[in-house]
């Protein structure tokens, strides 16, 4: 699974993107976040306030119960501030 991070989420995790093979029990964004939090303190810190994190599956804003597979691209970021 390709995972991308933006803005302060990328700064805290200290990565812009990574390729991860996720275990079978990771079937939606919520379980993906739980899995990522087991990967280290920086992940835990980035996802500490989950209400502040938005996510997109294959470049489309999604809900936390949206289904994902290892072929998807999932991105995590704070609320947008464009324009």
């Amino acid at each position: 699974m390709k995972i991308k991070y933006f803005a302060w989420v990328a700064e805290i995790i200290d990565k812009r993107e990574e390729e991860i093979k996720v275990p079978d029990h990771v079937t939606d964004v919520k379980s993906l976040i739980n899995f990522l939090c087991t990967m280290g303190e920086s992940y835990e810190a980035a996802f500490a306030n989950r209400k502040q994190i938005k996510f997109a599956i294959n470049q489309k804003l999604s809900r936390s119960n949206a289904k994902i597979t290892n072929n998807d691209e999932v991105a995590f970021f704070p609320p947008m501030t464009g324009g």
């Binding site: 933006f6 997109a56 804003l61 324009g83």
Partner: protein, 147 residues
């Protein structure tokens, strides 16, 4: 419809001329240009961006605007990267037969773009930097368009 996500600056007069020449039969054109505020001690505004999603999301916003108003032509240019005070950030232009259509469509595109297009602003000052937080006022401006 033309959508461009880019690092490089754009020339306002050139973009306006290009748009005008491809909208010759339209009676009304509405333009918005967003620039980096020249705040005291601000060194730069760094915009992070998810380019693939930005194109997709702006296309979606533009398509929705076209469903709501009689828009014949539109261009959205949005920059990312390190921008200096006074530099251009965003250029939104629409054309129609009547002014209300293009004026409202331009506002609608900006209101949605601010909250839904994947860009994140970071203000860089001499001794500190901070990510800009989404404003409740911007969310409310967007929500007023909801049916």
């Amino acid at each position: 419809m033309y959508i461009d996500i880019r690092k490089e600056d754009f020339q306002i007069s050139q973009e306006l001329e290009k748009f005008e020449s491809s909208s010759k039969t339209d009676a009304a054109i509405s333009l918005f240009i967003g620039k980096v505020r020249a705040e005291e001690n601000l060194i730069s505004l760094n915009l992070d961006c998810y380019p693939d999603m930005a194109v997709r999301e702006i296309l979606n916003i533009a398509e929705n605007a076209k469903k709501k108003w009689q828009i014949h032509n539109l261009t959205v240019i949005h920059r990312f990267g390190e921008l200096l005070p006074g530099e251009n950030i965003v250029f939104v232009i629409t054309s129609s037969d009547h002014r209300t259509d293009c004026q409202e469509a331009t506002q609608y595109i900006m209101d949605y773009l601010k909250n839904n297009a994947p860009f994140w602003k970071k203000e860089v000052y001499k001794n500190r930097s901070m990510w800009v937080e989404q404003k409740q006022e911007d969310i409310e401006r967007m929500e007023r368009w909801e049916d």
